[in-house]
């Protein structure tokens, strides 16, 4: 437990804050949080932060509760695990999920935490973590798909003072950077993280000066209370007292031959409080796909789905947490026992979108979306140049794939986009300028989005032509289970990857691999999955379906899944369409299912090899205690 050294004595008594000042401080905090993002984006060197913006800022109150941010990083859990004093000018760093109560969830995330002092007392905390594209270990980018312990996943930094009273701990930093492949990246990104939390610190002390410390701190309490009150009202309005709702989704495999992993989430409201229960989920994975989730993060995801629709401008914070109890079974996929491997948790963290969407959408059709591109598949390519000016030089690419946003109550899901905020793709011309590769095709694949009144977004095929021998690594999912459709919409298509070798042969690639050798001239097709459809596809405008055929987003054959017959000239054949739609309506149940998950798991496993070209994984089971 950290001991905080403050030179100021006496407490700051709460004062009443008028509603306008409260909103001014709320706005000031929001601006400070976006300024943190900006500082880091613009200075980062490693692709994960620079292009994918894989970073999360937070500003907390003196106890560490988040008053603005996006993810509950859980400063309190971090402080619990830190043994020592904390003083003005200290900046702490860790990358050990097991030492901070999963405030971060894999060792690629470096978490920086800084106390904000004003006139000798702690008035808050600034913290931020970012995904380092390489933290050492046995594979480039540090996410070995066959890891069974965290020891295999690179350098694990215990919580320590990177800056002690403003003084950089050079030796410690040197030791850490000696473990990683691209120390310039890590140093730049770490500098950016520190610059960002210091920026937040300046903004907070400016607000203390402007409004007075007592007013500032009381405003934080009021902002937390605002979330609490809003959520209390919402919970009572949305969930029936005493009724339990559940939803289950999957992670297809764990990289070492097991899967699919069931992710089950249940919710029950009792009085003012709701209980989120992850019981019924699969046991922890043998491979590195475990998603070690902090209870506060689970609350956060829940809250985001609940509250953003009611007041999109609200400042996100921890205030409502007392209203939500969370149960996460030890030894489960969500809370693996040390030292389980964690690096490949990006599918779990993404699948949480689908999980909460499917769970909460059952009570509120306005929120029910189909399943979407609920991950951030990684693609890595590395090696040494074998010729030319750069002969002998190391190259290392890290990039993220994009796919189909689900069909939504609002409309179609965008094709080839991101479900994560602020992620952007790396331009082809940038990749070709900096890496020995060429891209032959970068297009969405017709018919991969699930049919519906609102179509699911299409998945993407990116075809990489390698210019140098090297090795690739891939972290992907949804190759076995389907991105489900809702309200009569159909599932989207699953993802797939293959290599066309320079010698003319073709090889299907599993969804999680590393150290996979490639040669000059080999072509990798990385095809991502589509979003599920929303609503009855037979109700979709036939003219729109035909237009999408002309656009190449749906094929003539695919249009028939909407009951639409498109003639050779690209126009709708109205009579044939009416007849086909009638035939399809007669041949299906009167009531369409809320969820269309695709075939049952048993059937998927039985047909796995035949359909995907890959062997079926082995279903995980809980061992008897």
């Amino acid at each position: 437990m950290a001991e905080i050294i403050e030179t100021a004595t006496g407490r700051v008594d709460p004062v009443s804050v008028d509603p306008v000042t409260l909103d001014l401080i709320e706005n000031g905090l929001r601006n400070a949080r976006y300024e943190m993002d900006e500082v880091l984006f613009r200075t980062a060197l490693s692709p994960g932060i620079r292009e994918q913006h894989d970073e999360f800022p937070l500003i907390g109150d003196p106890s560490g509760k988040m008053v603005v941010g996006q993810f509950g990083l859980s400063v309190p859990d971090f402080l619990d695990g830190f043994d020592g004093t904390i003083e003005e000018g200290d900046v702490l760093l860790t990358s050990d999920p097991y030492a901070c109560g999963a405030a971060i969830s894999h060792a690629n995330d470096w978490l920086v935490v800084m106390p904000i002092f004003h006139e000798g007392r702690v008035v808050g905390w600034a913290s931020m973590f970012g995904h380092m594209s390489d933290v050492g270990g046995k594979t480039p980018s540090s996410m070995p798909t066959d890891a069974r312990t965290i020891y295999e996943e690179g350098v694990i930094i215990p919580p320590f003072k990177l800056y002690r009273k403003g003084e950089l701990s050079r030796d410690a930093l040197a030791i850490i950077l000696n473990q990683v492949r691209m120390p310039d990246w890590n140093r730049a990104d770490l500098n950016g993280l520190v610059a960002a939390v210091r920026t937040a610190g300046r903004r907070v002390t400016e607000m203390c000066d402007r409004f007075g410390t007592a007013t500032y701190l009381s405003a934080l309490d009021a902002l937390l209370q605002r979330n609490y009150e809003a959520m209390r009202v919402l919970l009572a309005a949305v969930f029936e007292d005493g009724k339990t709702i559940s939803f289950t989704d999957y992670i297809c495999d764990d990289g070492v031959g097991n899967g699919p992993y069931e992710l089950k989430l249940s919710l029950t409201r009792t009085g003012e409080k709701v209980h989120l229960d992850f019981t019924g989920s699969s046991p922890q994975a043998a491979g590195p796909v475990n998603y070690y989730i902090n209870e506060n993060l689970a609350r956060m995801f829940f809250g985001i789905y609940m509250i953003t629709v009611a007041d999109p401008q609200i400042l996100w914070n921890d205030g409502f947490y007392p209203l939500v109890d969370v149960t996460i079974p030890d030894g489960s996929y969500w809370k693996p026992r040390y030292p389980a491997a964690l690096s490949g948790r990006n599918h779990g963290i993404g699948r949480v979108f689908d999980l909460f969407g499917g769970l909460l959408g059952q009570t509120n059709p306005a929120l029910l979306n189909a399943a979407g591109f609920s991950s951030s598949p990684h693609f890595m390519y590395s090696g040494h140049y074998t010729s030319g000016e750069r002969k002998g030089e190391w190259f290392q690419l890290y990039s993220i794939g994009f796919g189909g946003i689900p069909g939504r109550p609002l409309g179609d899901g965008p094709d080839g986009h991101s479900l994560w905020p602020s992620f952007v793709n790396i331009p082809c011309e940038y990749l070709e300028s900096y890496y020995p590769l060429r891209i032959e095709r970068w297009e969405t694949i017709a018919d991969t989005g699930g049919p519906g009144l609102n179509r699911g977004g299409n998945g993407v095929d990116v075809a990489y032509v390698f210019g140098e021998p090297g090795e690739i690594a891939i972290h992907d999912d949804r190759w076995l289970t389907y991105p489900w459709g809702v309200n009569g919409g159909h599932p989207g298509t699953r993802g797939t990857k293959w290599i066309d070798r320079a010698d003319g042969s073709r090889e299907v690639i599993p969804s999680k691999i590393h150290g996979f050798p490639v040669s000059e001239g080999d072509v990798l097709h990385f095809v991502t999955w589509g979003g599920g459809g929303w609503g009855d596809p037979l109700e979709r405008g036939a003219g729109l379906v035909a237009l999408e055929v002309r656009r190449g987003l749906v094929t003539v054959e695919g249009a028939r899944r909407y009951g639409v017959v498109v003639a050779d000239d690209g126009a709708v054949d109205s009579a044939a369409t009416a007849a086909l739609r009638e035939r399809m309506r007669v041949g299906r149940p009167a009531e369409l299912p809320v969820f269309d998950m695709g075939p049952p798991i048993e059937e998927l496993l039985a047909r796995c090899e035949e359909e995907t070209g890959l062997p079926a994984p082995k279903r995980p089971v809980w061992e008897a205690e």
Binding site: P19, R42, R50, N191, L410, R441
Partner: protein, 685 residues
Amino acid sequence: MSYRLGVDVGGTFTDVLLVEEGSGVTWRAKTASTPGDQAVGVLNGIGQVCAAAGIGLAEVGQVLHGTTIATNAILEGKGASVGLVTTKGFRQVLQIGRSYVPGGLAGWIIWPKPEPLAALENTVEVDERVGSDGTVIRQLDEKDVRVQLAKLAGAGVEALAVCLINSFAEPGHERRIAEIAAELLPGVPVSLSCDVLPELREYERTVTTVANGYVQPQVKKYVENLAGQLREGGVSGELAILRSDGGLSAAHSAIDAPVTLLLSGPAGGVTGAAWVAGQCGYRDFITFDMGGTSTDIALVRDLSPRIGRETEVGDLKVRASSVDVRTVGAGGGSIAHVPELTKALRVGPQSAGAAPGPAAYGKGGTEPTVTDANVVLGYLPSSLAGGEIALDPGAARTAVQSVADAIGLESAEAAAEGIIDIVNENMLGGLRLVSVQQGFDPRDFALVAFGGAGPLHANALAKLTGAWPVIVPPSPGVLCALGDATTSLRDESARTVLATFGDLGDGDLKAILNELAAEAGERLAGQGVDPADQTTSYQVDVRYHGQGFEIPIPVPGSATTLPELAALFDAEHERLFSFLLTVDHELVNARATVTGPLPTVGVVALPEGSGDPSAALAGTHRLHIGGKSVAAQIYDRGRLRAGDDVRGPAVVTEMDSTTLVLPGHHAVVHPSGSLLLNPLNAEEA
């Protein structure tokens, strides 16, 4: 005698300003805008102003014009139907974009994705490929080009955009496609990405090229029509159009590159602000242009606006140099509301717009807006001296009272003050974006306030930022027309270089900059600027090798060495982010901007007053400030003389703008016509 004409077309009025270059004497005309054909209003105004000056149209040497034609085509979705040609495998480059979804964690649920500017059914791909180093990997298949373009021939395409992968490194295939298109699609204007934006990043280059084609037919029609009518009307001088970067472009050059005109309107304001602030003796300032639905903010150092590399109009973001204007989505028409769930007071982003408008306008609006709050507090007197619109204070009060009731405040005045405080805080966010977040201390800058609502809010914002004085120029329409009339012709050449300093020699940098300068200089000479009168400035985008963002660095001259450039970059990086890296530097883009001579426009002085403004007193009035009702004077700006000292609390009114002077502050009339607001007590400054 030599005359210049500045013309600014606004939504309601067309302002025309005639300047006699030698004496600086100006004549102004304000006529109703004619949205059907803007040229009609422009001609009316020109006729009026020349009559007032007693000169014939033939005596007008130059007509300098800021136009929103291109901007409106984008905002209203009324541009041309654009056909797009891409490299095989990249037909969906606009459909996929950067895969970016705006908003927070659940943002994708509520994001309506805008349709691409070039429809996917009108996008074709051709078989060819160029590598990133410019080597041709696959020759252009011309037969395929003909097949693909033939598909577009019957599709009603009004403009063609061509953007092939890596064409910034080797433009040959794009140029050949343009030749073939001239045969197969005669009369259809073609925009090539190697001309519009020869820079790396295919999506940005494509969307910018398509936007160029999208607005081109309308811009061409408008500019040619206006030029023709000016000629027929007897105007002998040349027509020039204001670019987004604040420079002027000869009419024919503007038609070739209309994507450089998207921010012509705001650029006019910033350029005019530079003219006005310079006359008042201030060279560093922040512009604060607050209108009905949004507010534009820009930072100007040494009378030169900061130029950004991105232009944003509505949902569209293109890569084109423009005055670095940040837009805050709030203005006088922004609606205040209280979400039931959180009981927070929110202002915007919804706006009452022009129709129904604020409740006080009496056009059917009932929702409380920022303007209504200003009316309730007395900041906008209901009987404006020469006001365009009679205000209904009762309707404003009823609307604002609804906020007071929802949030539990004791009075409409308290709610109104809350609304003003919140909207000012939003504005403060915008001011911080261009100042502290770019490493500038706002206290080192003046604040130039214009737009219908800017002068109402500027005193409060200066108090929050310490940016003194507030400079309120003479009426806003004149400001833009002044900006048009007082800037110079400009052209720019740019290129992606993409090499680390370690791989470059000093000679390389010099050669690149000189080539770019020669290209741009030649084009400017084609616009009639003698090479001897041209001034060249250089800018490069530099980053640490591996960073994702570049920092634009002004280069003192083409003889600048790489170590000198590295030092300039390091200083800027340190200023912005407070740390340096030891990684090698990388030169990403280089630009040369060539500028013609600034016009010599003399300065007009107001008649000298006694310091006592009472001759301009239009009445007295009660204002609600800081929870109290206070007595205040209302002055008619048109009757103020140089040196007159207006003590706050006071309101200064004119036809299209109102200035609020807060208690403890005063406004002094500068001889050039601007009001300079400062705290009375220097300690507050």
